[in-house]
Amino acid sequence: MATKSSKQMTAVSKLLDQLIKDGKVEAFAAAEKPLKPVWDKLVCARCALCYLYCPDAAISRQDDGYFDADRDLCKSCGICHRECWFGAISMQEVE
């Protein structure tokens, strides 16, 4: 997984170098009160779209077939909330 260091690298390839390095993941500098996704099981149709669209792989399927996010991996981007066709996800302040 080495990258060429001789050539001037674009910001993106630098980012990717960091992204897949086996080192530590830096703590994400989030807003003071980050909003996290909260699922409404009564509305969710278990279509798995939110799971598919999370760039941080924070969402996983629970044993009951519904979905939930790992709040440490989640970066509060809101894509899951935006992409759910059924409006089952709301972004909320959680402890």
Binding site: F28, A45, A48, Y51
Partner: protein, 237 residues
Amino acid sequence: MDTYTLFAGQFLPFNERYLPGGHNACAGSGTALALRHVYKALEDKNADLAQARWDETPAGMFAGREAAGAPVLIIPKAGENRLYICLDAEAAEKKISPEQLIKKSPAKAAASGCLYCATASPSHPFDLIEKVRRGWSAAGAAYIHILCPCPTAWGFEMENTVRIARMAVESRIFPLYEIAEGHYNITVEGVRPRTVADYAGRQARFASWKKAQIAALQEQTDKLYAQLQASAAREMN
């Protein structure tokens, strides 16, 4: 089995080989999302992703000017063949230009000997996954060009990453097609295309563009899409 297990998403592998401990990309990064889909596609393919390496896409013979400097993931296949996956965040130039927006790489890669070439977008994950798998099983080199919207550089809200990617497809500025052994095939064809102005209007990077520039881009997009349709139609007869 109840009704909902029939949703297509339920058929995908649910184990996560993709950096399970998180990564350092920004929130809402299109690049990270595309990469995750690539990993998903190759999950059960015995692909040695540890042997994959990053490089910059070379301009010239292999890739068009718009992909020069974009990171490319090179995955070794059987024999000397490679699967090239270009993650194009349109960041090569400071100011966005039509050269950056119109993708010539797939056609170039096909001309320089890649047996399977395709464009893909993380907004259409099933299409993307299918293409990566086809590229993987092609008998020779393969090239996949993926559009990766970047909320910071393009100037839109981070929750809209997937939307913007979808709009790029719907406005036909980034049509989804494949070139399998020289045969063109449009894989996602919108019924009602969006206008380029609609796509551009949602991103701060187009703020300095004049109306005439957008109109010219629209014209160019329509022309290229008609060409693409013609190449695809020729194959059918």
